[in-house]
């Protein structure tokens, strides 16, 4: 069988199936009237953009608070992921195999169990309806990914570089900071990226723990979808995706740039 006869059509169909819904969403954002059965809109308007910028939920404010909340989750996830990876990769201790299992718990425990269970736990801790509570439950959902990424990176790098630094007189924090950290920047960024995306997409956990008080873009979008106003829900969705994508792309570009630098540093050595 000709390989090309397989992968060209499969990839073409996949690309079309992924891109077309996105293009239609962007088009719908500017629609004034698009009655059945027309294939193209009858009339365009900027109504949705006005609503987005000056409407009940201020888009600029929303984006700043959503992005900073998710970035906080990503940073915490990456730091905890790094610490956990170092413990499980560089030390021997009893019960080590439990760590891997425990780190995958959020993938096994259904999101509804996690959210409703934690809501009750958080009432006692006065964390319900607070940003801190929402950050904490997003962190729980992001950690399996951050830990996996940081564990792979820690294992790939190994302890040798740090051990040499320690032999040369560095303390263990300095050894990490000077020897391992620069080499792990691409992994840090990949972990930040994953943590950000998971947190940015959360709806149900934010609803239960935030109790409607903590507003993220997902929280504001949901009622618009239920209202059935297609131009408005499409505009909010475009705004949601492209703002997330923007942060994602910046991190990806940094990863590419820094990976290249790390590689060229290694070849220089």
């Amino acid at each position: 069988m000709n390989k090309k006869a397989f992968y060209v059509p499969v990839l073409t169909i996949t690309f079309i199936a992924i891109i077309v819904p996105v293009l239609l969403m962007v088009l719908w954002s500017f629609v004034q009237r698009w009655p059945w059965p027309l294939l193209l809109p009858e009339d365009y308007s900027m109504r949705t953009i006005r609503e987005l910028l000056f409407g009940s939920a201020n888009a600029f404010h929303l984006i700043v608070s959503s992005v900073s909340l998710s970035m906080t989750v990503a940073l915490l996830g990456t730091v905890i992921g790094t610490l956990t990876a170092r413990a499980s990769e560089f030390y021997t201790f009893r019960g080590k195999s439990l760590i891997r299992f425990a780190s995958l718990l959020p993938l096994i425990v259904p999101g509804t169990v996690l959210a409703m269970g934690l809501q009750i736990v958080f009432i006692r801790l006065h964390l319900t309806d607070t940003v801190a509570g929402v950050i904490l439950i997003h962190l729980v959902s992001s950690l399996p990914y951050c830990i996996t990424i940081m564990t792979d990176a820690t294992r790939a790098l190994g302890p040798q570089l740090e051990e040499q630094a320690i032999i040369l007189g560095a303390n263990s924090f300095k050894a990490f900071w000077l020897a391992s950290f620069p080499n792990m920047i691409p992994a840090f960024l990949a972990s930040l990226n994953m943590g950000f995306i998971i947190s940015y997409s959360q709806y149900f956990t934010t609803l239960i723990i935030g109790g409607g008080r903590v507003k993220t873009i997902a929280m504001v979008l949901f009622p618009y979808i239920q209202s059935g106003d297609r131009p408005l829900m499409s505009a909010y969705s475009s705004f949601f995706i492209f703002s997330g994508l923007f942060v994602f792309m910046i991190l990806e570009l940094l990863i590419k740039k820094l990976s290249k630098e790390t590689i060229s540093n290694e070849t220089e050595c």
């Binding site: 069988m1 992968y7 239609l24 969403m25 259904p110 409703m116 269970g117 709806y203 997330g244």
Partner: protein, 289 residues
């Protein structure tokens, strides 16, 4: 390997804290599902709530809807995801295309917007069918959204999860295909045979892992069945949510028993996954660990 008693404990403290939160959440859900809610004056442990919901016809139809949606969407996503992954590997660009990673970044609520624009009775597929003369009016277009068939929910999950499977399996498949797959072809196997006899079975651990993750996600997912599913029967996470937020506090144990059932099925899926991994490892001589 360093042998220090306290350092790993210090490094693990935040992780242990988060893990403790998860265990507490699950424990609270299970205790409340057994009727232990001292704050509401319920202090008698019993299986009564499970017995009641498991004999309730509304609950059982919700359970069957949730199972049907998650199983069908997982199977379709796994098959399509593996096909997409194989195509990317066969294309041999040495890099996973960004476009195929894109759906992983799209939140479920936004996927629901895509589905409403495209799959509804006045959506783009119905319009295309009308333009082609296949239907005379939108009422003739089979409803896909808000129906008991949950077809729109399934399509939406597949759109998001098939690329996830492809992405998840890619690293393993590309390494097997370039080593053992190539070897099989050098020994005279056709590309097709090499794929089905070597690359696919050796990629099974990653495929099973990805399938498990998306199954639990679809089974316990709230957004898509809420936005695209029927009003009756409702998917399980929605009934759990409605009972949880009900002003009648005595509904709480029922919400938690529903969560308990969700948890049991997720654990069952995890066990199935572990068994399938062991089977795959045994069958392929343990070379793919």
């Amino acid at each position: 390997m360093r042998n220090n008693k306290f350092m790993p404990l210090i490094l693990l403290l935040p992780f242990i804290f988060v893990t403790a939160l998860i265990i507490m959440a699950a424990a609270v859900v299970i205790m409340q599902s057994l009727g232990w809610i001292p704050a509401f004056g319920l202090t008698e442990l019993s299986l009564q709530y499970y017995a009641e919901i498991l004999t309730d016809s509304d609950f059982l139809s919700s359970l069957s809807v949730s199972l049907r949606v998650s199983i069908i969407s997982t199977v379709i996503s796994a098959v399509l995801g593996v096909a997409i992954c194989a195509a990317i590997v066969a294309g041999g660009k040495g890099k996973f295309p960004f476009i195929v990673r894109f759906p992983i970044l799209v939140p479920h609520a936004v996927v629901a917007v895509f589905a409403i624009n495209i799959l509804s009775q006045t959506g783009h597929i119905a319009r295309a069918a009308y333009a082609l003369g296949l239907i005379a009016d939108y009422s003739q277009f089979t409803p896909l959204l808000y129906t008991e068939s949950f077809l729109g929910v399934i399509v939406a999950y597949v759109w998001k999860e098939a690329p996830f499977v492809a992405f998840f399996v890619y690293a393993l498949m590309v390494s097997i295909s370039s080593s053992l797959g190539e070897a099989a072809q050098n020994l005279g196997a056709s590309p097709l045979r090499s794929f089905f006899a070597v690359t696919l079975p050796l990629s099974m651990p990653a495929i099973a892992n990805a399938s498990f993750i998306i199954f639990v996600f679809a089974f316990a997912g709230y957004e898509l069945p809420m936005l695209l599913g029927s009003t009756l029967p409702k998917a399980l996470p929605i009934t759990a949510f409605l009972e949880f937020t009900s002003p009648d506090l005595l509904n709480r144990p029922y919400a938690m028993a529903t969560n308990g059932v969700l948890l049991m099925f997720a654990v069952f899926a995890a066990v199935l996954y572990l068994i399938s991994i062991q089977y795959a490892v045994k069958r392929t001589g343990g070379k793919n660990e």
